[in-house]
Every structure is written in structure tokens, then in C-alpha cells.
């Protein structure tokens, strides 16, 4: 046991990379374990493991690093080991001082020790010392962060009691992203979901939330806070009912004075979603049952699709497949005569060769930016908007600005380990 905790110079340093910043680990998935002989006597073992699982997940929500609890590998192979002890503990050279003052410490690239003389409590309690908060802090050290003397930082050396549910704030995110970079990746769909609500004066208000879907999970993106919702990503199954559980091709919201229809597309079929009931419709008001074949509902449109978006002004749906675009007139329920056309023709590159050409992942009309964005891989191309055109009339209609990184416009869209997706 002692041997397990002695620094594994060869093993761990093999993990670390010296890229100039004080980065600690270079692999994408790290393993952790609450050491069996070092459980706390204050909380149930399941509670302790759940809290550590959540603590690791909170870091992986903001950096491209996953954490997996490993209960079987030999101890020496586990990247991060956590344990509780009192006074002289776990072969550690630093002796704990009993209740009060020092409540935990972390060894770089390795182990985290908690002083079991402290009164550690679960996140739901407002007494004692939150084990979740201390765990997030100590994991921050293991990942390479020093103490940060900033009010509100999780890396402040002193514990601040009675704080409501805490989260990694903007500065802490930037600090850890300086070491590990920001999260990149492609998206299946991105869309704004419109909500119509009446305010206290009975006036109809329109609000929207932005969603990003990837594989079988999704994020709500809070535009006003420039980050994802705390606790995201979560499983599509959890938040949306009756649509496919993963790999959705497109989302289209037909929104006119008389129509308000939302559709999800996957493969050869499409589903209609009822926002009020928060459920995919089995049958619409005309008695049509869902899911329906795309070829039935949108004659002339091929499947599976790459993506699609609805242009409210022109009342056209643009469907994308490979290097072609199909403009579908929702009033005449047919593809415009001049389509399909080449993607490069309908949406020309402003800078030659700086174009997605084919197989875009998602076409997203953002109400926050009043612009259309084409996503492909971890890059986006912004389509010339009316405002752009007013500022520079020489820009081509529907032209594509040179590509940029999605992660530089939408922040912290990070995966978490599949074992923690349901937390």
C-alpha cells in the first residue's frame, strides 16, 4: 500500500508533457480511485465515490479531459488516488493537524488526501466542509493549478462555507484551459429553440435557447453567460422524448404567421416535436402519423441528410446533402425548380478555397447573432447576413466568410466520460 503511494516517477512523468505551461497530464482519459483502505468514516462509501465522480466530471465539463473511475487495475496504474486519513496517514510525509485548519492536500500528478478529522459533508448539506468543493479544489492541484487568491475561485486556499451550489467560474475555466486547451469537436446539429411566453403584462414574449447536439448527448448554451448550462452535457433521452436517442441529422423550425412546426430528421425519417407537451407527436392535426418518411413530407428531398435550416424571410427550407443544396418552398411543398444546386454556387466562398465544399455537419441560424453558420468538424463559416451586406455591399449574397474555430465563439462545449453522462 505504501509502495502504491510513493511517487511513481517513471510512470507518471511518462504521462506529463512539458509544453511550456505547467500542464500535468497529456493523455485524454485519466483514471481515479478512492483507495479501499482509506474510506472516510463519515459518509457512506457510495456517497464518497459519487461526490468524487461529480468532482471529476465538473473539471471535464470545461477541458478536453475525461475521468474514469477504475476499481480493478493495479493501484500503480491508476492516475489519481484519493484517500482519507488522520494525523500521520497513508505513508504521506505531511501529517494532518486534526479538526480545523488543513483539511486536505494533493500531491502533484497523483494523490489526494483528506483529513478525516474534518467534518466533511455531502453537497446537499450546508454545515461542515463540503467534500465536493474540497475535492474539486484538490483535483485542480493534481491537474496543475496553483492556489489562486481571487474571491470566488475554487482554487482559493481557504474554504468558504455556506456558498450555494458552486461552479467553476470564468477565470477558473480560463486558468485550466490555459493548461489543457479548450474543447473542440463536431456537432450533429445546432439550433435555437423558440419559446413563446406571456410576461406579467400578458404580452407575448419570444425567447430562445441554443442547443448543441453531439452523438447521444447535448448542451444548452447560455448565450448571455457565454458558456454551457451548468451540469451539461446530458443525454438526449433525458431531455427530449420520442426522438432518436443519437446522431440526429437535422432540426428545422417552420415558423410563419400561421405555422409553427418543429422537426427532427434522422436517416430517411422525420419527427415532429410538440414543444408544449415536450414530446414527439405520434399524430399531427391532419392525422398524419410520425415518424414519417422524408420523401413523403418533403417530396424531392433525398435522405439521409447532412443537415437543414429554415430561412424565415424566404420561407424556404435549405436541405444539404453532400455537395448539393435543395431549396424547398414550404408553401408549395416542393423543391424550387432551379435546385438542387452546388453548395459552392448558392453559398460562395468570399476567400477562394476557404469553403466547406461538401458534407457539412450542421447549418445553424442563430438568433443571438442574426446569422447563419455552417459547421463542419470544429470549424464554422458564417454566411453573409443582411447587416453585413449593408456594411459592405460588395459582399456576395449568401457568401461565406473564412472559417473560424467553433470553440472560439461557443465556449466549454466539452464531452464528459460516458460513465458520468447521467449525473
Amino acid at each position: 500500500f505504501l509502495q502504491m503511494l510513493l511517487p511513481k516517477l517513471d510512470r507518471q512523468q511518462e504521462d506529463s508533457s512539458h509544453s511550456g505551461a505547467t500542464r500535468a497530464f497529456s493523455r485524454k482519459t485519466l483514471t481515479w480511485r478512492l483507495v479501499g483502505e482509506a474510506y472516510s468514516s463519515q459518509l457512506s462509501v457510495d456517497e464518497q465515490r459519487y461526490i468524487f465522480k461529480l468532482a471529476f466530471r465538473m473539471w471535464s465539463e470545461v477541458i478536453p479531459l475525461n475521468f474514469r473511475e477504475d476499481l480493478t487495475a493495479p493501484g500503480a496504474m491508476v492516475n489519481i488516488k484519493l484517500g482519507f486519513g488522520r494525523g500521520r496517514h497513508l505513508g504521506c510525509t505531511r501529517v494532518f493537524d486534526g479538526s480545523g485548519q488543513e483539511f486536505a492536500h494533493a500531491w502533484r500528478l497523483g494523490d489526494i488526501h483528506f483529513d478525516d478529522d474534518e467534518h466533511f459533508t455531502p453537497p446537499t448539506s450546508d454545515t461542515g466542509i463540503s467534500l465536493l468543493k474540497v475535492a474539486v479544489h484538490e483535483i485542480g492541484h493534481v491537474l496543475g493549478l496553483p492556489h489562486i487568491y481571487r474571491t470566488g475561485s475554487i482554487m482559493h486556499p481557504n474554504y468558504t462555507p455556506h456558498e450555494p451550489a458552486f461552479e467553476l467560474d470564468w477565470s477558473d475555466r480560463k486558468a485550466i484551459q490555459k493548461l489543457y486547451g479548450s474543447c473542440k469537436g463536431s456537432f450533429d446539429i445546432a439550433f435555437d429553440w423558440i419559446r413563446k411566453e406571456r410576461n406579467q403584462y400578458g404580452e407575448m414574449m419570444v425567447r430562445f435557447s441554443t442547443y448543441f447536439f453531439r452523438n447521444s448527448w447535448y448542451w444548452l448554451y447560455e448565450n448571455r453567460n457565454n458558456r454551457t448550462r451548468y451540469g451539461d452535457p446530458i443525454q438526449i433521452l433525458t431531455g427530449w422524448h420520442g426522438i432518436p436517442a443519437e446522431n440526429i441529422d437535422a432540426f428545422v423550425h417552420i415558423w410563419t404567421r400561421r405555422r409553427d412546426e418543429r422537426y427532427f430528421f434522422k436517416g430517411s425519417q422525420y419527427w415532429r416535436y410538440d414543444g408544449d407537451k415536450d414530446q414527439a407527436l405520434l399524430e399531427d392535426e391532419q392525422g398524419r402519423s410520425y415518424p414519417r418518411l422524408i420523401s413523403e413530407g418533403f417530396p424531392g428531398i433525398p435522405s439521409p441528410l447532412d443537415t437543414a435550416f429554415y430561412d424565415r424571410k424566404k420561407q424556404l427550407i435549405y436541405f444539404f446533402k453532400e455537395s448539393f443544396v435543395f431549396a424547398f418552398d414550404i408553401n408549395r411543398n416542393q423543391v424550387l425548380n432551379s435546385y438542387p444546386m452546388k453548395l459552392t454556387e448558392v453559398f460562395p466562398a468570399i476567400t477562394p478555397q476557404n469553403h466547406p465544399f461538401r458534407n457539412i455537419d450542421s447549418a445553424y441560424y442563430s438568433y443571438a447573432h442574426n446569422s447563419i453558420f455552417f459547421f463542419k468538424g470544429n470549424a464554422y463559416w458564417k454566411v453573409v447576413s443582411e447587416k453585413d451586406k449593408q456594411q459592405n455591399s460588395r459582399l456576395p449574397s449568401n457568401g461565406l466568410f473564412p472559417k473560424k474555430h467553433i470553440s472560439e465563439k461557443w465556449f466549454d462545449l466539452c464531452d464528459v466520460h460516458i460513465s458520468t453522462l447521467n449525473m
Partner: protein, 120 residues
């Protein structure tokens, strides 16, 4: 076992033997400043560091006190006053707060200092 009677252990009674000794005098304060990297480093290897360099002798206790007070937004007097004692007795993480910079960077603001890593 630490004694408790209610199911959620909210009435956990810690035995007095396991209470941290409060920091109440200059000597204890000096030990605190040394332990957490504000002045000369104790001989024990500190966590989160492989091995830290010995502090230059010129860092005096008052200096270290002043730096600690400044980082904690306390009146910077260099003296062990009540507010400083309260700050030193707060529950805290055992990882040292600072790595002693080389003499040349002493004046840079705390917390923003680059970490001095010995070359591999």
C-alpha cells in the same frame, strides 16, 4: 470511531485529541508561513512540488507576514495582528500557497507568478 448518534451524523463529535492546534503566537505563525511557502521552507517535502529551493535568508518574517497579509487583503503591517491570526486559522488546503520565486521576481504580484520548475 468518531462518536455520533443521529443517522445523518450531523452531530459528529470530534475527540479533542484530534483538534488542530490554533495558531495563537508568533512562533506558530512563523511555522504557518514556512509551511505554506511564504518564507523559509520546512525540510519536509511539500506536496504539489517535487522539491523546492531553500528560501533566501534575506526573506524576513515581517516580509513573509506582509506578503501573506497582502494576498489576503489584510492591512499590510508585517505584524501578527488579530486579523492575520484569524486568516491563518481558517480551514484551508495543505498545498503551499506560493513557490518561493527567485530573488529577481520577488516584486511580481502574487498568484500571477510563473512556477519555477527545475529543468528535467
Amino acid at each position: 470511531e468518531a462518536l455520533f448518534h443521529s443517522r445523518d451524523r450531523s452531530d459528529l463529535e470530534l475527540s479533542p485529541l484530534h483538534q488542530a492546534r490554533p495558531i495563537a503566537d508568533l512562533q506558530a505563525a512563523q511555522r504557518f508561513l514556512s509551511r505554506y511557502g511564504w518564507s523559509a521552507v520546512s525540510s519536509a517535502r511539500s506536496p504539489n512540488l517535487e522539491r523546492t529551493t531553500e528560501a533566501p535568508a534575506s526573506i524576513s518574517l515581517a516580509d513573509a507576514m506582509r506578503r501573506f497579509q497582502k494576498a489576503n487583503a489584510l492591512p499590510v503591517s508585517g505584524k501578527l495582528d488579530t486579523a492575520t491570526l484569524v486568516a491563518m486559522n481558517k480551514p484551508r488546503c495543505g498545498v503551499p500557497d506560493t513557490q518561493l520565486p527567485s530573488q529577481t521576481t520577488l516584486s511580481t504580484p502574487l498568484g500571477l507568478q510563473p512556477r519555477a520548475r527545475p529543468k528535467r
